[in-house]
């Protein structure tokens, strides 16, 4: 597979996670579907995601730093991806802000667990260690995120929020499977000591 295509596909997954389809309109989604949602509770929901991500991130990075065979990182990838894919479907079932805050924490935990495998793939597979090579890649990913944001708004406007969440869940599932396949290939192609 072309390096650039691979970089964009990998970046695609995380932009879907972080900025993607629902992020620009997440606050409106909460206000429309959850009766008790206020701007204050929307801020708390966002904080729940960030706190769970920032709290777990150092421990996950430390535990996978010397993972010479990569099996632990791969297990974390599967577990994290499962939680991330679960989040949009759980949001469909949310009835009050407490549900949303818990779902945001699950989502943050998922991102924290999937992150080391993603960064390892970016570093090793795409050969993007050099900062100067990362600039066009970042620009391509940002443009991709812009396109995805418009697509998310379009789906939410004309098909409704549940359709957007189903679409988001299925897309994330596809991205997670793609990541898992690429990581498995990386393990087979790279000598075990260097994985």
């Amino acid at each position: 597979m072309l390096r650039w295509m691979r970089a964009i596909l990998l970046g695609d997954m995380f932009y879907l996670m972080a900025f993607g389809l629902i992020s620009p309109i997440f606050a409106l989604f909460l206000q429309d579907r959850i009766p008790s949602a206020t701007v204050m509770s929307v801020g708390i929901a966002e904080a729940a995601f960030l706190i769970s991500l920032a709290t777990l991130r150092p421990f996950i990075h430390l535990s996978t730093r010397n993972d010479s065979r990569g099996w632990r990182t791969q297990s974390y990838l599967w577990f994290g991806s499962f939680l991330v894919v679960l989040a949009p479907f759980l949001l469909l079932l949310a009835r009050d802000m407490l549900d949303v805050i818990v779902i945001q924490m699950i989502y943050g935990t998922g991102v924290a667990f999937a992150e080391p495998a993603w960064s390892r793939l970016m570093d090793r597979t795409c050969g993007l260690d050099d900062a100067s090579k990362q600039e066009p890649k970042n620009a391509a990913n940002t443009l991709l995120a812009a396109g995805i944001a418009v697509l998310g708004g379009f789906i939410a406007q004309y098909e409704g929020m549940p359709a957007l969440l189903y679409y988001l869940g299925v897309t994330l599932l596809g991205a997670a499977l793609l990541m898992a396949i690429l990581y498995h290939q990386l393990g087979r192609l790279t000598p075990k000591a260097n994985v």
Partner: protein, 200 residues
Amino acid sequence: MIFHRSSSILAAADLVAVSAFGLLLPIFAVFLRDTIPGVTLLNVAVAQAIFLTSKAAFDLLFSTFVHAGNHHKRSWSAVALGYAVMAVVPLGYSLAHNMSHIFLLQIVLGMGVGLVGATWHDLFMASTDSQLHGTVYKIYNTAVAFACAAAAILGGYLAYNFDYQILLYTLSGLAACACIMTLVAAAMSPALKQHRLPRN
């Protein structure tokens, strides 16, 4: 000391600026719906897309510009100018009446973020030991995430209990503080001092 004092001030400036925008970003869609008449979900998403496109374009443009000439001088100027532009945008939000104003402001915000994004990382890492780059960056990312979490709660509190105007003025003031901190860091930067010496 892991890095020079000017890099510490630069990191603090970025933390202040990122936290400032963390006050508004989680509730930006609600802010638009409450203050601009006729906002739709598609409009909000297009505003976000315009910001991201502008950021990507200006990031590449300024990165090329900065690396083409006097690297240190242009980098420090770009970061300070970027924060100044970011400080102006919230004032524009408070005066906006329709979505075309918001779209225009999103382009300007993308320019500010692009200016900072093109140069900030190089400046921050310049005085750090290359073996510590990964660790320093991870610690910094974690600090940013906690700061953004606190800012999201504070932003929601300000908007819920007071007014969007107060939130926007706070945001603008914090971005202006980041600009001043960058200018102070630039004055202390050893690379710029060395650059000034041959003139005497």
